[in-house]
């Protein structure tokens, strides 16, 4: 399920499987005010967000907030990498 960009396809947050972490590259297509709001919530290029679900709407965890996003809006958020997320309790202690 790990994916690193490169093949030129347009991959968005809406394409990231639920339960994965995804790295944002850009937001395009949404109205300017929406783009600014999304960034204000912390959806910035280079940041990782966790996708919780897509149905009925996309839910992503940004910083320590869950954000519900209409799937059309999630399609405006471009990502360049994603990988499965391991819940903290399941991670081996370092």
């Amino acid at each position: 399920m790990r994916w690193q960009g490169g093949d030129g396809a347009r991959v968005t947050l809406a394409d990231v499987p639920a339960g994965c972490l995804a790295r944002i590259v850009a937001i395009e297509g949404a109205p300017s005010s929406r783009r600014q709001q999304l960034r204000a919530y912390g959806l910035l290029a280079g940041d990782w967000v966790r996708v919780v679900q897509h149905v009925p709407v996309t839910v992503a965890v940004v910083e320590h907030t869950e954000l519900a996003l209409e799937t059309d809006l999630a399609r405006c958020i471009l990502v360049d990498a994603f990988e499965p997320w391991v819940p903290p309790s399941a991670q081996p202690r370092r």
């Binding site: 005010s33 783009r35 709001q37 009925p56 709407v57 320590h64 869950e66 954000l67 819940p87 309790s89």
Partner: protein, 654 residues
Amino acid sequence: MNCHGETEGVASAGGSIALVGNSNVGKSVVFHRLTGRYVNVSNYPGTTVEIARGSAPFLPESVVIDTPGLLMLPANSEDERITADLLLRDPFRAVVQVGDAKNLRRTLLLTLQLAEMELPLVLALNMMDEAEAHGLHLQTETLSQALGIPVIPTVAVQRRGIDRLEQAIAEARASRYRLTYPAEVEAELAPLAEGMPDSPISARALALLWLAGDQAAGDWLGQRMEASVLDGLAARRDRLAMALGESPADVIQRARWAAVNQIAEATIQETEATRSLGQRLGDLATHRVWGPAILGVVVFGLYEFVGVFGAQTLVRWMEAGLFGKVVNPWLTDWLTRWIPIPLVVDALVGPYGLWTMGLTYALALILPIVSTFFLAFGLMEDSGYLPRLAVLSHRLFRIMGLNGKAVLPMVLGLGCVTTATLTTRILETRRERLLAVLLLALAIPCSAQLGVVMGMLGAVSFQATLVWLAVVAAVLICVGWLAARLVPGERSSLMLELPPLRLPVAANVLVKTAARLEWYLKEVVPLFLLGSLLVFVLDQTGLLSRMARLTEPLVTGWLGLPAEASLAFLLGFLRRDFGATGLFALQSRGLLSASQTLVAMVTITLFIPCIAAVMMIARQHGWRTTAAIVAVVFPLAFLVGGLLRILLQATGWT
């Protein structure tokens, strides 16, 4: 939901202190801590949609102001604009930014904007308890030095850090934090700032707002500058956009984020934390399969508590027991003995009597229902479940030209349609607010009315309640669908923060329930009494039958109700639950059959809620829109009522 509560005048010789910050971070709890005045606190973004003032005992003659939440500037929805306008309009002795410690970066983005305004600023980092539970350790000292302002960690719900906050507010100084933007922006900023009119915020901050296209700032400048000067400013902004090759707002925001990330990096230490039960439950509550299942459990729980325990057990106990066996016989006996005038006795304890009909009805039948409802409602509000309903209901609201966020005003409307009308401010476009207000006015019964409906239909059958629910829901969706196609404009996309599920704070739920019960007792019960008195007087003077004859074609001919019901509908023009009082009187005299009760309840539910709600709609959307809404709602109510009657007759339902 406490339909009362305008801000009282408070002396402010000592200056005013504004509490600002992102939504749902605890501003209103801090306000309560600082002033002792309670304003509604709930666990969803958009609880406060109006400014509230309270005096601050720790700073004599000064005023603390609670504001609606603000994600950032430029403001986007109407409630955010209230806060933006406030900052431009009023000079503040100090601004306290309340921030959510576990979302430090987002908090700091706003801090930088406030700091640029050169207002005396204090940052209260609230919800430190949750930040710690998330494994975050924040160096508030480092943060304070980086920003040049006091940073106070607080846990407002536990009163932790409030004393230090009060002290910091008293000593607050203008922050001197200054961010340098890319050269092109700076080159425009300096001359722009030069030409800005005097304002409570710094000229530089005002110029930045202008460059970012802030509407509140634009309007503010528009009131103070000649159109030609403003055009010049707009030209400068356009020129900058050309030079940058993108919108200045984006460039400015990027520069701020760079600074925020730098500061955050130095202040946050994150360790691993296990996910709490609340977090896991929160995810399940919006899940495609578990979400509806949990909703089912919640609705079932509500039904058991309000519909069975409140509307049946408690009502039986109050109506048949306390009032029927003890209070009413005793009072009737006592009155007939001591007051020899039959008319007066009749007015009090006769069939249409003030006490037997009005108060018994308001206290024995409706009070238990609304009490259990208010309690359950307060628990729901505090739990953080309501915003998750927005996820589950999004697709339904899409049909009605709205997005899932509209579920918040709709659900609040079940408490009080008037306050819910105010809450439509959290919706982003005027069209969405209009659609939401129309649906609220038409098909969302408020708590008092829900009480009436449950009380009266409960006496008929559970099936009748279901039919009522189905008809009202169908009207809601059909009208919403149609209105969405008729009202021009776009739908905005759903973007809503889902706060963590929290264990409700007992004190908060109780205070809120008490305030709502007070509202019910003080404002609704007197109207019930007035209604009963009116029915009595009209009945005695024979006016009732004359009025009934006038409206007979509609009420008897079309709706198939007894002529006496016309009065109820006339009263319903004032308040729909008020009108139901009259219907209740008819039902208790055995004049309404089951199907007639159902038709009457559906019709009255679809009426305009109450005068207060109409005034609120007019305040927000103007009288023309209000008149249009009223002109749609009343005929529609009778149309649906009549059609339902025909349908019931056709299916042989009695």
